[in-house]
């Protein structure tokens, strides 16, 4: 069973003069085992959307169901692992170990199981074991981000909802997290991620949801996203778009360096032929 949002709207500071409408008439389904990317400019409503998934915010109108359950139920929360946009806001324990173990103990896992999973989780985000006894508040920005990710990964949820999970990570950290996400996705976990990092995430995304001013402006496959000319694009894809705009017969569905290399070489040979024919 999926996560289903039907006709969901949400406003902040409701019924006050500062009322801000953040989402309007959102209809969305997240199937088990999917990899979905939520894109959009700043203030579009992406974080608001993710907070509706796990019941931190309640929709003003419409319904949200997680496997048929109300998202504020504990049983629904067990199925959803969440990393908020500001990793620093989500940490509250005295040590990194307690932080990662918190959810596990709460959901009734044994001490031994918890310990195993904590070690597995810090491995997945490449944190050093010596960090386990440190105060999460005294970590650097990127280290906090890793702890926040580890605490969600350790729960092995059915749906992993991430709000910009790789911001603040160094490039090798980004690569490792992307590998990890790919791996757990293959094991059947649905990954829903808000991201601005298209270079890293684009190759992984199966479906894209583009939000503009609180409404879903596009949702569909990566290929149709490219065909429709949606923005933003990863640097390589936007270069391909520029080439096409200049009349070059290139394929738009290219977003890795390797494919781009091939495509440009192909372009060169086509143009070379035309030139020699003329």
């Amino acid at each position: 069973m999926p996560i289903i949002l039907e006709n969901v709207s949400f406003s902040y500071s409701r019924k006050t003069p500062l009322e801000t409408s953040a989402l309007r008439d959102v209809n969305l389904r997240i199937e088990k085992g999917e990899f979905v990317g939520i894109l959009g400019e700043k203030g579009a409503g992406k974080s608001t959307l993710t907070k509706l998934f796990n019941g931190v915010l309640k929709p003003e109108t419409g319904t949200v169901r997680v496997d048929g359950l109300d998202p504020s139920l504990r049983e629904a929360k067990r199925r959803i692992g969440m990393v908020f946009q500001q990793a620093a806001d989500q940490l509250f324990c005295k040590t990194v170990y307690e932080e990662i173990a918190f959810g596990l103990l709460n959901f009734g896992h044994s001490k031994k199981e918890t310990e195993e999973r904590v070690y597995e989780a810090i491995e997945a985000v490449s944190l050093d074991q010596t960090e386990l006894s440190r105060d999460p508040f005294s970590l650097s920005g990127g280290e906090m981000q890793r702890v926040a990710l580890a605490s969600a990964l350790a729960l092995r949820p059915d749906y992993l909802v991430l709000d910009e999970p790789i911001t603040g990570l160094d490039p090798s950290g980004k690569k490792e997290i992307l590998e990890t996400l790919k791996r757990i996705k293959e094991k059947g976990t649905a990954v829903v991620t808000v991201t601005h990092n298209l270079k890293g995430f684009f190759p992984l995304l199966e479906r894209i949801v583009l939000i503009r001013e609180g409404r879903i402006a596009f949702q569909g496959s990566r290929e149709s996203y490219l065909e429709k000319g949606c923005e933003p694009l990863p640097p390589i894809a936007s270069m391909m778009k520029e080439l096409r705009a200049r009349g070059m017969p290139v394929n738009l569905a290219v977003f890795t360096v390797e494919d781009a290399l091939e495509e440009i070489l192909r372009l060169k040979s086509i143009l070379g032929k035309e030139n020699s024919e003329n």
């Binding site: 203030g43 974080s47 910009e164 160094d170 360096v257």
Partner: protein, 274 residues
């Protein structure tokens, strides 16, 4: 403008963050700082702005020692910093109050303060949010408020700690453009980032590792340094593509690798010429 002499710093809990760091930042330079998580970039930023004091060595900001309490107010006027986490930077209940806080401390007259605030709001496109609480904004909008808070103070030297991390590509480019404009006006810029693409036009790039300076040079030489990969850093896609194309005899000059537009233009020029 700023000089670090053998600076070492450990946090109160004993975590070493900087070790024997030497660095000279010249007036009007645009310096990019990169490095792994926990390599000491943010700590360096706090040292450069005089908010943390070195345990050994010294930090001189225009010949003012940051450890000298009598120099602090002078230093504050000279150096502004935007923190890594914007939420930790808000001091006002409304965006306007937050932006006015710095200029108020500089004892500018009200008319002047209003001008600074309005300009900073315009530069970051935040006019609409003037009366909102800075904490009731989205992540990216908050980041823009943090930036505006320092822009409003118009310091000589500005330190930016991952200020585009929560921004979509379009807003990120706009913010970087604003910063480059300040640089062109002669301000000294220290720009910390994990996104190497943003440092294409920097005057100098520093790579930090475990509290030390590991590598230093202009962008072109740093990006082509073989040790980049071993430092856990990866090249911007377009530069990587250019390197790969070079092996097939297609040479894209360095300046053309900065944006997709210039890159595509160059390819068209090369291919249509023959």
């Amino acid at each position: 403008m700023i000089r670090l002499e053998k600076v070492s710093y450990s946090y109160p809990d004993g975590t070493p963050a900087l070790e024997d760091l030497n660095l000279v930042i010249k007036k009007g330079e645009f310096i990019g700082v990169i490095g792994k998580n926990g390599s000491g970039k943010s700590t360096l930023a706090l040292q450069l702005s005089g908010l943390l004091k070195p345990q050994t060595g010294r930090v001189m900001i225009r010949e003012m020692d940051t450890r000298d309490p009598s120099k602090l107010s002078g230093i504050r006027k000279l150096v502004g910093i935007v923190f890594q986490n914007p939420e930790t930077q808000f001091v006002g209940r409304t965006v306007e109050e937050d932006l006015a806080f710095g200029p108020e401390n500089l004892c500018l007259p009200p008319v002047e303060i209003r001008k600074c605030v309005d300009l900073a709001l315009a530069e970051t496109g935040l006019e609409k949010y003037r009366h909102r609480s800075p904490k009731a904004l989205s992540g990216g909008q908050g980041q823009c408020v943090a930036l505006a808070g320092v822009l409003a103070m118009r310091p000589e030297c500005l330190i930016f700690d991952e200020v585009t991390s929560m921004l979509d590509p379009k807003s990120g480019i706009a913010v970087l453009e604003t910063i480059k404009k300040l640089h062109r006006k002669g301000k000294t810029i220290v720009y910390i980032t994990h996104n190497l693409e943003e440092l294409h036009d920097a005057d100098r790039i520093l790579i930090m590792e475990k509290g030390k300076m590991r590598l230093e040079g202009d962008p072109e030489s740093v990006f082509s340094d073989v040790s980049l990969q071993t430092l856990g850093l990866s090249l911007p896609s377009l530069i990587e593509l250019a390197e790969n194309l070079k092996m097939h005899g297609i040479v894209i000059p360095w300046e053309k690798t900065s944006t997709p537009q210039s890159f595509a233009e160059e390819i068209c020029r090369l291919f249509l010429k023959t």
